[in-house]
Symmetry: C2
Subunit: 432 residues, 2 copies
Amino acid sequence: MAARPPHVVIVGAGFGGLYAARALGRAPVRVTIVDRRNHHLFLPLLYQVATAGLNPGDIATPVRRVLRRQSNTRVLLGEVRKIDAAARAVELAGGARLSYDALIVASGSVPSYFGHDDWSLHAPPLLGLEDAVEIRRRILLAYEKAEWEPEPAVRSALLTFVVVGGGPTGVELAGAVAEMSRHAMSRDFRNIRPEEARVVLVEGGPRLLSAFPADPSARAAASLRRLGVEVRTGAHVSAMDEAGVTVGSDRIPARTVMWAAGVAASPLASSLGVPLLKGRVLVQPDLTVPGHPEIHVVGDLAAVKQGEGLVPWLAPAAIQQGRHAALNIVRSLSGLPRLAFRYRDRGALATIGRSSAVADFGRIKLSGWIAWIGWLVVHIFFLIGFRNRFLVLFQWAWAYITYERGARLLTARDATLMQSEPLPAAGAEKQA
Amino acid sequence: MAARPPHVVIVGAGFGGLYAARALGRAPVRVTIVDRRNHHLFLPLLYQVATAGLNPGDIATPVRRVLRRQSNTRVLLGEVRKIDAAARAVELAGGARLSYDALIVASGSVPSYFGHDDWSLHAPPLLGLEDAVEIRRRILLAYEKAEWEPEPAVRSALLTFVVVGGGPTGVELAGAVAEMSRHAMSRDFRNIRPEEARVVLVEGGPRLLSAFPADPSARAAASLRRLGVEVRTGAHVSAMDEAGVTVGSDRIPARTVMWAAGVAASPLASSLGVPLLKGRVLVQPDLTVPGHPEIHVVGDLAAVKQGEGLVPWLAPAAIQQGRHAALNIVRSLSGLPRLAFRYRDRGALATIGRSSAVADFGRIKLSGWIAWIGWLVVHIFFLIGFRNRFLVLFQWAWAYITYERGARLLTARDATLMQSEPLPAAGAEKQA
């Protein structure tokens, strides 16, 4: 039997892992990519699933289909529980082990509640499709409950939506919730006025979008305020329960709270037994782990120093790192030295509802309509697959023209959660 | 205060209930429509969600949106638990009560396992979006498990799909599963050949599609056999467990079983305290309940005699009945007598995969490509909303050209269900 090619195991099929697998498609290696989900998720549009603008399927592509033509690659649905660096093997849930010659760990981030894990009950995070569907469920159900709630104070708490965290996810989520209540929902109810919904965005730092320069950041805040969002910067959540949030000493009665504030590296990081920085794996300049040149860490799991700071945890950085790790593996096989990673900053974009966005492309800073078009083009370009691109474009065009949200789904389980109160009289809203 | 217009309560927003509500849009009544879900579901395409061809959102429309312009109508998310005919009120989960002057009960059907309720664990029904997503999950997971299953007998059971029930739902489901395994999945795996999947369709009666005449019924069976489906008519399921089904005395090892055999009226029927026929409410010719001219029962819940037989439980019949009940309510208000319902049979259609269908329009019977085009046109026409129509049409065109299935989603929960076995060696499939 001929010597078999070296085995590269990739943990995670997000931006880092998937682009690493693609970069290894023609390399003289065997590749196994493992993910807990069968799909690659286009995370930058996840907030649109959470606000009923897109279907879950529109931003997900089966990993098998993306890698179908790579005959050296196999795809495994499974959960990696542990990395056994000494034995060069990963352990899956269920006990199976996969040996590797080189490993790329791209398992991404998990939500961090800064030590308040009980808050996760009240404020779900937005990291996977399940989360997005759960947030969508809570938002839609809040309107349904408010419609039948006789008590004004409770009704107002039902129509208050708090987003914690003023990064791109928080900004986009708050903008979308505000827009949804002003437009898509506004004509559908009889007893409430959805356009009076209160949307509060809470950010601990001094300004929104801290990864951006000061100017687009201020413009984003102004756009949100025009949409009716209450922007509170320098404000910290000190308590949270099912009836509301406490921000500093101010109590906000709110039944729907969303968490876009903190993420931490996935627990796999600690199983590596190497130094961490802010819960992430502090990697060498070539993205490998100290003492284990065969283990590469990329994407949200990695803390990569560059100049004075750290490479930001954004999709383009994960893609570049995944490709770089693949390149270094191929170079090592050919006896060439590994290269240091250098992040090429292509700029940053965030959208704030209809026809409004901010963009920072280094010297060029855009905002308003032109930034919004730029945002559309970039997101469609990076979305994988013609079908998804077309479906998303059509739904955006449709939403733009009609102000509708197409994916407003609640299921049977939800009706029993309604806790029906005494109902207002039918037609009461028609009375003088 | 002026006398308020009479209050019509509609239970269920399926075909019967929704079309009744629409027919009452300009009538001098107040309307309340109650459903456990916030959406109207286009049931005839549900099997395409179950086989990953369409997204759940594509065949669902929010009830509020459909009825938005009817200012006399309010929509309530809630579950009706009981009908108190004596007090003229319905009781919701949670205890709230709604009084009515006229009632239309259109709460549809629930699965019936002919006394074997434990079978529901092994063979989910296909009646709501949750069911469709569950069946999709099981089908996709079966392929994923089979890919990593070393034991040939288990692998073959994982790749065996049994559909119980040879009505339109069963026929369409079996055809779609067979087609999916032959095309969409066939290139995505390394260790299994999805096109060798075994699909068995079990029907208790002497032939498939018993509502159709003998000729299209025979053509449907022939089309299914060409797709590789094993059609077993006159065959009864006698036992079922997690490892397979027993059909007569024949044991079929199968890990995925789907139930399209029996439905019964929803439990509300019995709370009416009126005569039932096959678990359905036996209504008067005018669709009201004996002794209660203010209670109308329509759709799958109703047993309506016509000539020698019963009106079939199909979408067009439910639509006609819903409209008829609305008409009778308006007539009663004007002091006119209620009219007897007469079902106008507009024909029946069923599709069997790509470019193949059977149609029975009375004297005109079609099959093959032209029936398939007819099927497409009719289904797009009755689907509610331009957005859904466009999305479904595009995805059908896309699937037709590429043989793909776009909505192949598994979530994180699923990976831990994988029960990972010892894995085959990476690249083993490349060895001589």
